[in-house]
Symmetry: C2
Subunit: 340 residues, 2 copies
């Protein structure tokens, strides 16, 4: 059992009021008693219980929670997080941002349960999918939530981005440049707590090809796990085919950079020999001149917070919409040349 203020008071032979006073440097305490109390504190290894203190002081800490995958590989989450922070700083600096990261679906379930039950936060931002059951639980708890980039359940307020449209846009850009042999590099489609974005972007890709009357070759479809290195390997595989693609749509900027690195290693010039378009418009894409689809990641984070604050404040409203997606044309794509 952790020592309480009573233990300290008893050991020091004083009242708890006095202990409280030395702890908070409030009121008058004689040097002698202060010394005795401090010694008792040290001897017992006493640490004040912040919960009790807060209850007594009636100072609620105002937390907003964010549950996300460990952002080991997901630079895009960082951009969202940045937006959340900025919004919180601007709009409600008395709120704190608590970061919960989950490593598995099971972990997610369990975590969400405790967070809600303990009422650890006043609102929650989720970047992962939820089951019906979980949504019910949140509904019961009346905990304001907002999802980011989810299409899953329409009854769940969410800042969404249309990945299908994004995929369509990116692909159309390549088609407009005259490309006919276009490959797709992305995440394997999985049915778990991860994002469903890859499939949607791929579907947009497929639709664009179809609308342009272009074939979709299986050889041009490279699906794997997320990451620079994996994408690089995929692209290398593409480039060694007898009829390599002249353009690649990578489902994320990181993967696009992997493709570009692969091109370089294969002796191919970007965009002269091969065009590459990414998706996200990370800060680093600006730095590297990558053509990509701007999906307003930071803004999504910002709007998520703003919406959540509104709901917490009792203002029931519809979640805000994001501006339309757009292709940011930089130096990694260009018109198909005769030599291609």
């Amino acid at each position: 059992m952790r020592p309480t203020i009573y233990d300290v008071a008893h050991k020091a032979g004083v009242g708890i009021g006095t202990v409280s006073r030395v702890l908070n440097n409030s009121g008058k305490v004689s040097a002698a008693t202060r010394k005795v109390v401090n010694e008792a504190i040290v001897a017992l290894g006493y640490k004040p219980n912040s919960i009790a203190r807060q209850l007594s002081l009636k100072t609620r800490i105002r937390n907003i929670g964010v549950i996300m995958q460990p952002f080991v590989h997901y630079q895009s989450f960082i951009e969202q997080l940045r937006g959340m922070q900025k919004a919180l700083n601007d709009r409600a600096p008395d709120y704190e941002l608590v970061l919960y990261t989950v490593s598995s679906l099971e972990h997610y379930r369990e975590r969400l349960g405790t967070i809600v039950q303990m009422a650890m936060v006043e609102g929650l931002i989720l970047t992962l999918d939820l089951s019906e059951e979980q949504l019910d639980m949140l509904g019961n708890a009346k905990l304001p939530i907002v999802g980011i980039n989810h299409l899953a359940n329409p009854s769940w307020p969410s800042i969404t981005s249309n990945d299908f449209e994004g995929g369509y846009l990116a692909t159309s850009h390549l088609i407009e440049l005259g490309h006919r042999r276009i490959a797709y590099v992305g995440d394997r489609f999985v049915e778990d707590y991860t994002l469903n974005t890859s499939r949607q972007r791929f579907l947009g890709f497929r639709q664009a090809l179809q609308d342009a009357g272009l074939p979709l070759s299986d050889d041009y479809l490279q699906l794997g796990t997320f990451g620079f290195d994996e994408a690089k390997a995929h692209a290398t595989r593409l480039f060694t085919q007898t009829t390599p693609p002249t353009a690649i749509f990578a489902m994320s900027d990181i993967q696009a950079l992997g493709c570009i690195a692969a091109a370089k290693e294969s002796g191919l010039l970007v965009p002269d020999d091969v065009s590459v378009i990414g998706y996200d418009d990370l800060e680093l894409s600006y730095h590297t001149g990558l053509t990509t689809v701007l999906q307003h990641l930071e803004l999504a984070g910002r709007k998520a917070v703003e919406y959540l604050l509104a709901v917490i404040g009792g203002d029931e409203q519809k979640p805000p919409r994001l501006p339309p997606l757009e292709v940011i044309k930089r130096q990694s794509t260009r018109a198909l040349s005769p030599r291609q």
Copy 2:
């Protein structure tokens, strides 16, 4: 005043125990009373007070706080944060990571005060400098802390990196490649809560030049505010000099990328016409083939958490040391060629 459980009980004409039971779905409650209570809850807009609940349940939330600059521009903090998260997930998944960002020195002081007074966290990781006064306060509160990358006060446990040495190493790398006209692009030296890293790296740079008997031209010293664009402008200025440098040491990877972008725009090839070395070894530096100084950012975050957990656990120990800095040679530097 927020409604309490008493208000709900009164309005519903029941006891507070019953209200608690319907809130937690515990014990037996008849459907009828449950309904009445729920209606009262809705009518009053009642939300349970999590603090009181936690006190009653004796469930301490275990928080570790991180105070950092808003990481708008500082990709390097992300890498540290990533390390912290991983370590926490591995070592103490019951702890949560709370992110405090501060926008000014004053904001920092104030924030630190509340965090400590409210005992909102069990330990604190700081990436900013502290005054003597603040250190005293923390000492009084017996709040375990650990700094990252600080040289300021030796009595304060800290995971440090030797920026002077790093600057020396980076510069030596360029000198070894045969470069003689070497420029420095970095942050202006400021006396505030920001990191003192730029000055240290610069001093290492200067020492390396001196040891090699090389002159340090004022024209080759470009100091500004942090950022890609600013660095790009600086580098452009360097390239338009009558005797431009053949190599640049940028104090961060982001700034190095800015220099490379400037070179490209000036029609210069990297590394053929100009070598650029950065500092940090961000993930994106791997992606872009940037030669840089590896300073183990993620590991620093990891070690900070591990150390903090040890101290919280009552294990008084010295803060761990980081492995030595090293130059990661990639594709942005090469030996001085005759045409240069």
